[in-house]
């Protein structure tokens, strides 16, 4: 039930993100979700892609510092307060969210969540009836 996310370390220099997307484009890897966290000095590019092993190898070969992290993909119910209710379940379970970012999934809203206990997060969300994305679901798109 966990998704594998690709993270790339980038210095804050013009054109660096384009160089990453160029590598992925050349090997025909699709980006499903994309997020950048940055400080004044450096940034971390996080992505969900359709062929993570190929992408990982290609980026490493180009000299990037790359790693994979397990994250949770949650489809947010399309109703007022949908996001809020989901997060309340997470809080109650005592799970700490490290970061999250949104993306579109089959014209629905979805979020990627990284938590201190990712497996517990999956259990809590699926146990409460939420749609937690599986790797296969994303690749079919």
């Amino acid at each position: 039930m966990l998704l594998k996310q690709l993270s790339v370390f980038l210095e804050n220099k013009p054109g660096r993100i384009t160089q990453v997307t160029k590598v992925l484009d050349e090997i025909g890897v699709n980006i499903t979700a994309f997020n950048i966290a940055d400080t004044s000095e450096f940034g971390i590019l996080r992505m969900i892609v359709d062929n993570i092993d190929t992408a990982l190898q290609a980026l490493k070969a180009q000299g990037f510092s790359v790693r994979t992290t397990q994250v949770v993909g949650l489809v947010v119910p399309h109703q007022p307060g949908g996001m809020h209710q989901a997060l309340e379940h997470v809080d109650k379970a005592g799970i700490e969210i490290e970061y999250m970012y949104a993306f579109a999934y089959n014209s629905k809203a979805a979020v990627i969540i990284k938590a201190d206990d990712t497996q517990k997060l999956v259990d809590v969300l699926s146990g409460s009836g939420y749609h937690v994305l599986q790797e296969g679901e994303l690749i079919q798109d």
Binding site: S7, D38, T39, E41, I44, R46, F64, S65, R67
Partner: protein, 434 residues
Amino acid sequence: MIWNEHAECMDREQLLKLQNERLRNMVSRLYYNVPFYRKKFQEAGIDPGDITGIHQLKDLPTTTKQDLRDNYPFGLFAVPQSEIVRLHASSGTTGKPTVGGYTRADLRTWSEVVARSLYAAGVDKNDVVHVSYGYGLFTGGLGIHQGAQKIGATVIPASGGNTKKQLQIMHDFGSTVLACTPSYALYLADTMKELGMDPSELKLRRGIFGAEPWTEEMRREIEAKLHLKALDIYGLTEVIGPGVAMECEHQKGLHIFEDHFIPEIVDPNTLQPVPHGQVGELLFTTVTKEGMPLLRYRTRDLTTMTVEKCACGRTLARLNKFLGRSDDMLIIRGVNVFPSQIESVLLEMSETEPHYQLIVDRVNNLDILEIRVEVNEAFFSDEIRQMENLAKKIKANIESVLGISAKIKLVEPKTIERSEGKAKRVIDLRKLVD
């Protein structure tokens, strides 16, 4: 095992007396037999009779490799050539080789200190010592050879090269001790693997490795691949050759054979002793050498020294890890900074070889140190907070080691320029300003 308990476990007060006496004797030999030193003494206004003991070493002139070059080949010899029975030389990367001349007594001293070194490594007459150091002008081969012979071990003078044949001999002759450079030990291990040879087919149990700097990581690798205990031997042709200092089986630093070679750890700029335990350049005064005695010879090696008695029973001072060369030293805000100190901090944090660069600049008359660290996989986290904590931790650890603050900049892999595969460690922008 201790070869010469009298010398190696001597009460330190008694050792000091012996050193003082030997230094007085050496100073007069230098003054009367070596014009180079006589001139230096006269220029400094020192009369050989003024010198009573090693506490005055700090006032005496030092000797550099350049002095050896200027007096090439035999200008620093203290005896007539008829007394010299052996010559050795180290090739040196630049210019002329440095030459060492040995009298009969010098050769005896040399085999004595190598015998002590081998015993310290747990090697005795029951061992088969395979010497893969080069034989020739280089001191490695013959140096270990003579010492191994002295303790009565079976010596195989294999010298360098023809690795497959060496392995065959080691196998057939049952070598128990391997003496070579640490990098050749690794090469041997790799060749064994290629040949499908298992280390258990050999009887090796000890390695006497030296003649080049090596890391703890290399030690672990060699020990795992060759199934032996790897020990560090230190020496320089100028001083005598291998056997100036040797690690004992406790692997807690290299015991210096201080009754022959008096060590000092000094500030490379002032040439005055640094406070006990601090990093500085290693100097040797070869009090018993006859052929080419050297006063306060500057090794350019940076290290620290421990005087506490070792668990092995030896009272001899120990050299700790070598931290690079004094030529690499920087002075930042009046503090001596060695790139290797920063490297050790990073190594402790990542366990892989770190790539880093120091950038020193002067802004408003204040020196600024920036340390760029390449983010390799061991360092990289996908959380900003953790990356910021990493930078903070590096900063704090470096400040506690150096005593000055530094700015830490995390950079992408391979962005620090390398020349011949090695990263350029220091960029000092201050020089451009002056």
